[in-house]
Symmetry: C2
Subunit: 503 residues, 2 copies
C-alpha cells in the first residue's frame, strides 16, 4: 500500500443525510466507483417508532414548474410533487408549515418529520411537504435527468427555492382561505439550509424558518474543516471506554493485514463482505465505508430505537462501543471486533447474509443528485488530522476534489458561490430564523450555534444527534429536546402573532 | 383609419430612461418596426450643466464574470466594465458608493450621476460604477449578444445582481484597505430598482441602498396602470393654460387630417418629417412618437437647462406649452403648433433639418437589451383612459403584448416573476433602503412613496422629475431636492455609523 500516500477517510461530498464519500485518490477514480460509493441509505420501511406513523395522512399533488426560473430560453416544465395534510388546519388563525424538501423522496421526509405532525393541532396548521427538484418523483427530465451536465443544469438550490416560492403562491391562490395564511418554512439538514435561505431570500413569502441541523457555515473557511470528525470522534469517546482509540487503531490494522494476499482474503471473510476485496481500490472503499459508518452512527445516535438511516437500537454508538473496548488486541481480533460493531449498524435486523461496501441503496433516490450538487454549489470542506480525531489524516484538497467532479460530471465546483449568494457569516440583517443543532451531530460543526440577534436565534440540544427535534415525540426524548421543541413552537407562535398583528 | 380600432398610445415596453414604445397593434407589427420605434435618446454630449463635468476622473477596469451564475453547464465568461474613482476615498472611515448600472453605457450614467461626485468628499467615498451586462461594452457574446433568445438567456436582473455581488467581493479582495469598507448601492430608474433589489437580496454585501426614481411597484396590478400617463398629463396641465387639452385634441386632429392622401402629405411637411408618412403604420408610429415625446419631457422636466435625454431649456414643458395654448384652433394650426412644441424637444440646438419618427439613437446602446428585458421580466403594465389623461385610450393588453414579444424575441414574458422574486408590496422585512421619487416623474406612479418602516423610507421631491436628486448640484435646484439630498446623505451616514459600530 506504500504507493498510496493519501488513503482514507477521503471525506468530502457527503449528502447530509446519506453519507457519500467522494474518493479523492486518483487511483480510486474508476469511472463509476465514486458514484457507487456514494450510497444513500434511506430506509423505505415505515417508521415504527413514530407515534404518529399510523396517523399520517396526506394528499399527493403535483405542480407544473418551469425547469428554468432564471432564464427565458428554455421553456420546459416538469411536475413537482408535494404533499398536503389539511386536517388540522384552521383558516381563520392557523398557519401553513411548509417543509422545504431536501435530497430525497419527499414521502420519506414527511414520515420522518414527526414534529410537524405533533404540533399541527396546536398550531392549527396545514402541513405541506414540497419535494426538491431532481429527487423522488420530481425529475425535470424523467429518466434523462442525470445523463449529463446539460440535463443537470437546473439542479441548484436557487432553482429549488424558486420552486418553493411559486408553489406557495399557487397554494395561496388555489386553496380557499389560504390567501392570507402565514407560512413558516421548516427543514432539516440540507432541507434546513433551504428553510433558512428561503426566509433570507423570500421573506415576503415565509414569515420565519426553523432550520434544524442546517450546516449553513460548512463552506469555504467559515468553520474549521476538522471539526466535523472531531464531533464524530467525541461521540465514540463518550460512548464507551477505549472506543475511539480502538477505531483509531483499526486503520493501521487494516493496512497491515491487507499487505499480504492472504490477509486481504482473511479480512474479506472477517467482514462478511458480499464481494471479496480484489484491489487496492477495494481496500480504500472498505475504509471509506467504515468511516462512513461511524459518521452515520454519529448522525443517528438517538436515545431510542429508531429507523432513520437504518433500523437501530437506542443510543446505537453505545452498542457499537461494547465491541470496541481494547485497541491493543491483535490485528485480527481487532478486525473481528470491528465487524461486530459495524454489524450493529448494517444488520440490526439480523437479515443480512453479507455486508456490501459498495452497497447500492434500496432506491437510488438522491445519490446522483447530491453527488452533482456537491460538485457544483455544495462544496463543504471536511478534513481529518488523525490527532484530534480517530480517523486517518486527510487534508482538504480542493484541486483534487474539483478534478474528480470534472471527471464525474463534467463540471467544476464554485466553492465561493454559496457564501456569496447566501451571506456566509454575515447574516445579521435577516430575521425570524431558528437554527437548532444537536451537539452530538457531526453537522453541528457547520451550524449556527449562538444567537446572532433577537430574531436570529440558536437552540443547541446537548443530547441531540441529527435534527432530533424534527422527529416525532418519544417517551425516551431527553429533556433538552423537549425544551428545544417548546422553544421552537414559542417562536413560531410569536411570528404568527406578529403577522396577524400586521394584517 | 376606421379599421384600426386600437391606435395609440400603445405604450408598454418603456425603457425607463429611453422611452421605447412597443406597438401592440398587430397591423403595426412589421418585422423591425417596433424595435426601431424603441429609440434610445441617450445624448453622447458631455453634460455641460454639471459643475463636476470637468472634474470627473475615473479609471476603467474590467472583471471576468461568468455568463451564467445560476447554472454550471455553460462555462463561459465575459468582461464586465466598471469605473473606479479613488481620489476622495479614505480607507479608514470612508465608504464605497456603488452605482448599480442600468440599461446603457456606464460612462454615461457616471457622467449623469453628479450627486455621487458631489458627496464623494464629504463621505470620503470611493465611487464605483458597474456596467450592467448586455449594455455598453459588457456584452457576454460580443456582437452576437442579441442574435437570438439563446444568446440573450443570461440577460436578467438576477444575473446582473450576481455580477454586482461578485464585483464587490473582488474589489474588497483586491483593493488594499477596501476589505472592511462599507458599501452603499446607488442607482436611478432601472438602476434604482437594482439598487433596492440588491440590498434586499444581498444585505451582507451592501449596508444600504439609495433607489432613486425606481418604480419597483410598476408590476402586475400593484399600482393602477393609468397613473403613469395621468402624471404626464398633470405635468402639462400645470405648465400652461390649455396645454394638456391641446395635446388631447391633437390625436383626433391627426386622424382627421390623415384621412385624406393630401392631409397625410401636409402633415408630413408640417412636422418636417425626414421620411414622409407612407402607410397607416407610419401614422401609428407618428402618434407613438408624439406620446413618447410628451413622456420624455415629463421625465426630464428639470428646473435648469440640461442635457439628459436631449439638450433642453429649463422647465422644458413650460416652453413646450407656450405653443399649446388653444385646443380650438383649426386642425392645421393645431398641428403647426404641435410641431413647434416637439421641435423644442428634438431641435433645441437648432441643428436638425428634419425630424425622424423612427429616429435611430445616436448609439444603439440599450435598445435591444431593454426590449428583451421588457419582454421577459420587466413587464410594467401601463394604460390610458383618454379621460383622466390627455392620450388616446388604450387598455393594458397582456395577451397582445406577449404575442408581440414572442414575434420579436421568441420568448414570452412572465409578468408575475418580479413580484414573486422581489416581494411586490410585501417588503417590510428589509431595511436601509431610501426610495426617492420626484412627483413630476411619470415613474413616480410605480414608486414607493410612503415610509414602510423606519429603515425603509420614502423621500418625495414635489418639484422633481426623473431622479433629479441624482443629478449634480445646480444653482437652480429647488429647495425640495436640496432637502432630499441632505436627507439621503444623513441616512447614508447613519448606515455607515451603524456599520462601524459593529466592526
Amino acid at each position: 500500500m506504500g504507493s498510496l500516500s493519501i488513503l482514507l477517510p477521503v471525506t468530502s461530498a457527503f449528502s447530509l443525510l446519506s453519507l457519500g464519500l467522494l474518493l479523492l485518490n486518483p487511483a480510486a477514480a474508476a469511472p463509476h466507483l465514486p458514484r457507487a460509493a456514494q450510497t444513500l441509505r434511506l430506509s423505505s420501511l415505515p417508521n415504527h417508532n413514530s407515534a404518529q406513523a399510523a396517523g399520517i395522512s396526506y394528499e399527493t399533488h403535483y405542480l407544473m414548474q418551469r425547469v428554468d426560473h432564471f432564464g427565458f430560453d428554455v421553456n420546459l416544465t416538469f411536475k413537482q410533487r408535494y404533499l398536503v395534510a389539511n386536517q388540522y388546519w384552521k383558516k381563520e388563525n392557523g398557519v401553513i408549515l411548509f417543509y422545504t424538501g431536501n435530497e430525497g423522496d419527499i414521502t420519506w421526509f414527511c414520515k420522518n418529520t414527526g414534529f410537524m405532525w405533533d404540533v399541527a393541532e396546536e398550531l392549527k396548521a396545514m402541513l405541506v411537504f414540497a419535494e426538491h427538484r431532481y429527487y423522488g418523483e420530481s425529475l425535470p427530465f424523467g429518466n434523462l435527468s442525470f445523463t449529463d451536465s446539460k440535463h443537470l443544469n437546473y439542479l441548484t438550490s436557487e432553482q429549488a427555492l424558486a420552486d418553493f416560492a411559486i408553489l406557495i403562491e399557487s397554494l395561496k391562490k388555489n386553496i380557499p382561505g389560504a390567501r392570507n395564511s402565514p407560512v413558516i418554512a421548516i427543514g432539516g439538514s440540507y432541507g434546513g439550509m433551504l428553510a433558512a435561505w428561503f426566509r433570507m431570500k423570500y421573506p415576503h413569502i415565509v414569515i420565519g424558518a426553523l432550520a434544524a441541523s442546517a450546516p449553513i457555515w460548512q463552506f469555504m473557511d467559515l468553520v474549521p474543516c476538522g471539526k466535523f470528525f472531531e464531533i464524530v470522534t467525541n461521540d465514540f469517546k463518550r460512548s464507551g471506554p477505549n472506543c475511539s482509540e480502538t477505531i483509531q487503531s483499526s486503520w493501521k490494522a487494516i493496512d497491515r493485514l491487507t499487505s499480504t494476499g492472504e490477509g486481504v482474503q482473511w479480512i474479506s471473510e472477517a467482514f462478511h463482505l458480499c464481494n471479496p476485496l480484489r484491489s487496492q481500490t477495494d481496500i480504500i472503499v472498505l475504509k471509506s465505508w467504515l468511516a462512513e459508518t461511524w459518521v452515520n452512527l454519529a448522525m443517528v445516535d438517538y436515545p431510542y430505537s429508531s429507523d432513520f438511516l437504518m433500523p437501530l437500537p437506542a443510543w446505537p454508538i453505545k452498542e457499537v462501543c461494547k465491541y470496541l473496548t481494547d485497541p491493543n488486541v491483535s490485528d485480527k481480533v481487532l478486525i473481528q471486533n470491528l465487524f461486530q460493531a459495524v454489524n450493529i449498524y448494517y444488520n440490526y435486523s439480523g437479515e443480512a447474509n453479507c455486508l456490501n461496501t459498495s452497497q447500492t441503496a434500496t432506491s437510488n433516490l438522491g445519490i446522483q443528485g447530491w453527488s452533482y450538487q456537491a460538485c457544483t454549489e455544495m462544496v463543504m470542506p471536511i478534513c481529518t488530522t488523525g490527532i484530534s480525531d480517530m480517523f486517518e489524516p486527510q487534508e482538504w484538497d480542493f484541486a483534487a476534489y474539483s478534478d474528480q467532479c470534472f471527471l464525474e460530471w463534467g463540471v467544476r465546483p464554485r466553492p465561493l458561490w454559496i457564501p456569496t449568494v447566501f451571506g456566509g457569516k454575515n447574516i445579521s440583517s435577516h430575521s425570524n430564523i431558528i437554527f437548532s443543532n444537536g451537539a452530538l451531530d457531526p453537522w453541528y460543526a457547520g451550524g449556527v450555534n449562538e444567537n446572532i440577534t433577537d430574531n436570529l436565534v440558536s437552540i443547541v440540544i446537548p443530547d441531540g444527534a441529527h435534527h432530533l427535534d424534527l422527529r416525532a415525540r418519544n417517551i425516551d426524548d431527553p429533556q433538552s429536546v423537549l425544551f428545544a421543541r417548546a422553544k421552537e413552537v414559542e417562536y413560531m407562535k410569536k411570528w404568527i402573532e406578529q403577522f396577524n398583528g400586521h394584517h
